[in-house]
Amino acid sequence: MLTLDDVTVSKGTFQLRANLQVPPGLTAVIGPSGGGKSTLLAAIAGFGPTVTGRVIWDGDDLSGKEPGQRPVTMLFQDHNLFPHLTIAQNVGLALAPRLKLSVKQSAQVDAVLTDVGLPGLGGRKPAALSGGQIGRAALARCLLSDRPVVLLDEAFAALGPALRAEMLTLVRDRMAQQGRTVIMVTHDPNDARSFADQVLFVAEGVAHPPLKAAAFFYDPSPAAQSYLG
């Protein structure tokens, strides 16, 4: 269980407060822009802003740990693959940060690429792939990493509706339903409605504890109501 214990994140004059727990499964983070959605993810991943309070994973206090030392793998809005490395190398970074892959690890990479529908494309570079294929390759790296927390910061925002649905299906089936804690920022409440187990509403500098998706949409709070319109 991921716990944010009385956390305050300061970014310039902006402050985000969070006192909540995120259960395993797919949690969608929604709310008006500028409300602090990306700031929340950055605080969990260990990037940048000052944090008071504690970020706890299974009783282990993450505060002060480097991003790479946290049980977190993250997809950003862009720059998720190194363009000068092949797809297989990019995915392989999840297993061997120095890129010295054993035969077994290489086989794992090939297998996960097949899983996400990119069989035989490991030797290509990202520039030779379509936007959807790039998204799947980045997802493949997250699938391969053994880190229990997966953060998606509008990672599929640039994709069309059909591709996005395809990615979200992969995320739900291959990550959330396998017991990982997936936290996904999205602009589109429909993504949350169709795919998420929980909804975490962030507005005006406050991250509210996640609610079951059905409950959230059935009876939204006044702030959520004014956001959803």
């Binding site: 260990g46 991003p67 993250m74 720059h79 290509r124």
Partner: protein, 508 residues
């Protein structure tokens, strides 16, 4: 505690580089200042050297910028086949060995050159290129292209909509748009070129001299090589440093270094064009191409006759350039990775320093202990590396910052660690600026005729110095042959390095 120790070890290369640059700039300056015989003051000859240094630099800067204005305007409003090649040609003098260009100018404007042959046919008295006129001519050859590129940038910075609006209102474009732009861009160009001409030793060495055309740097060289008057050399070196330091920092802020004409490959649609554009473009092309064509024409036939001493000198030049390039790239990379105030310091100090001042300081430092001749080549490597450092830093430092801002979070999230990040992310993505910086440093170092002239005897001479010796002995055919060799080495080294970075690392 352990963490801070690791941090210190990581930034050690950056500190070592900074120490080398500081030692060669401020350290040599200190040696020079301590040795300078201030008490005896400056002689009349010294004062005339100072006067000539400033006047020729001012004349060169003014002539370059004034001539550049019509050329830049023609390039800004004319689209034609070969325009890209001309813009590239305008970048070439930066990596052209000075002494090669001087020999080419001699072939056009010198005693037996094309111009005087023409004048003779018309019955007019021949002109002499040696002296102040020749020094300014050579400086215009090198800096007119730079001025054109600087001012062309100004022209292209005027939004196309303004030209459309001016044309629609029938407003005078020169008065409304171009003059204000020139008022912004021309002073910077003047200052940069003035500074470059203050420290251009090789031109003064080959075309200047005598009481009326001796620069401060040339006087330093004469004081060491002919009079062995180290006190006077030191005093003059202090004067030279003061001259450069005055203009350097201001000038550096406004010098663009954007590859060979990148961003200059477009024109703006406008409705005022003059036939004179073609005349200016033709003249500047001839001015740049003729001297080089003459070198090839005279030099290629004598290539087979070059002696083994020339090839040995060429070998030394390559070794010196390879060593200097290695030092420069390693140092600039270490500094770029560390960032911060050291980058600004190392990026600007060598610009205020003159190679001759560094050379004088080093001469004073090593002279009590070893024969300066024996350290001629290591000293040349060090000075060349330091002089090229600002250029390499200006190329690498912003590129490293971009890579970090784009891919830093991903690398951190993947726990790559600093070595794997360097090896897997930063170096591959830096290939282009690294190759370009390597090419520049190689070409500059191969063509350098500066500090080596203070230290070397024929047994240590580099190719430019050997070429200078041939010219001094009036063996002009052999000198032209050596010039062709030097030209191909400098351009070839640049091309080999730069083309390694041209392939797209992200393709396929």
């Amino acid at each position: 505690m352990a963490r801070s120790a690791v941090a210190i070890i990581r930034s050690l290369p950056a500190w070592l580089t900074a120490a080398l640059v500081l030692a060669l700039t401020l350290g040599t300056l200190l040696a020079v200042a301590l040795r300078a015989e201030v008490g005896r003051g400056l002689s009349a000859g010294d004062w005339s050297a100072i006067r000539f240094t400033v006047l020729q630099a001012a004349a060169s800067a003014i002539a370059s910028v004034i001539l550049a204005i019509p050329v830049a305007r023609a390039l800004a409003r004319r689209q034609f086949r070969g325009r890209g090649a001309l813009v590239m040609l305008l970048g070439a003098p930066f990596i052209l060995p000075v002494i090669v260009a001087v020999l080419g100018l001699l072939a056009v404007f010198g005693r037996g050159g094309l111009l005087n042959a023409g004048l003779l046919a018309l019955g007019v008295a021949p002109i002499s290129i040696y002296g102040a006129g020749g020094v300014v001519l050579a400086h215009v050859f090198f800096n007119l292209p730079l001025a054109v590129r600087l001012i062309l940038q100004g022209w292209l910075s005027i939004p196309a909509e303004r030209f459309r609006l001016a044309a629609q209102l029938n407003a005078p474009i020169w008065r409304v748009l171009e003059l204000p732009m020139l008022a912004r861009h021309a002073p910077g160009a003047l200052l940069v070129i003035f500074l470059i001409c203050l420290t251009s030793f090789a031109v003064a060495l080959t075309l200047g001299g005598g009481p009326r055309a001796t620069t401060v740097e040339l006087a330093i060289w004469q004081a060491i090589r002919f009079d062995f008057d180290l006190g006077r050399a030191a005093l003059l070196a202090c004067v030279q440093f003061a001259l450069c330091a005055m203009a350097a920092l201001v000038a550096w802020r406004i010098t663009p270094l954007n590859g060979f004409g990148s961003g200059l490959d477009r024109t703006v649609a406008r409705w005022d064009q003059s036939r004179w554009d073609w005349v200016w473009l033709l003249l500047v092309t001839l001015f740049l191409v003729l001297p080089l064509a003459m070198i090839l024409w005279r030099g290629v036939p004598s290539l087979p006759d070059l002696g083994p001493d020339i090839y040995r000198a060429a070998g030394r030049s390559v070794l010196v350039a390879l060593a200097a390039t290695t030092l420069t790239l390693a140092g600039a990379l270490a500094l770029s990775l560390r960032g911060g105030v050291l980058v600004a310091l190392v990026g600007s100090l060598p610009l205020a320093a003159s190679a001759l001042v560094m050379g004088t300081g080093l001469f004073l430092l090593v002279f009590p202990f070893v024969n300066p001749v024996t350290v001629a080549l290591p000293v040349t490597v060090g000075v060349n590396a330091v002089m090229a450092m600002p250029f390499a830093l200006r190329l690498l430092s912003p590129a490293v910052a971009d890579i970090r801002s784009d891919y830093g979070p991903l690398a951190a999230n993947l726990a790559l660690g600093s070595w794997a990040t360097l090896r897997l992310v930063i170096l591959p993505r830096l290939r282009k600026p690294l190759s370009f910086a390597a090419g520049l440093t190689m070409a500059l170092s191969i063509g350098d005729l500066g500090v080596v002239a203070l230290f070397a005897t024929p047994a240590q001479e580099t190719l430019p110095l050997a070429m200078y010796r041939l010219m001094g002995a009036y063996r002009m055919d052999a000198a032209a042959g050596a010039a062709v060799l030097l030209l191909f080495m400098a351009l070839g080294a640049f091309w080999i390095c730069d083309s390694r970075g041209q392939g797209d690392a992200d393709a396929g």
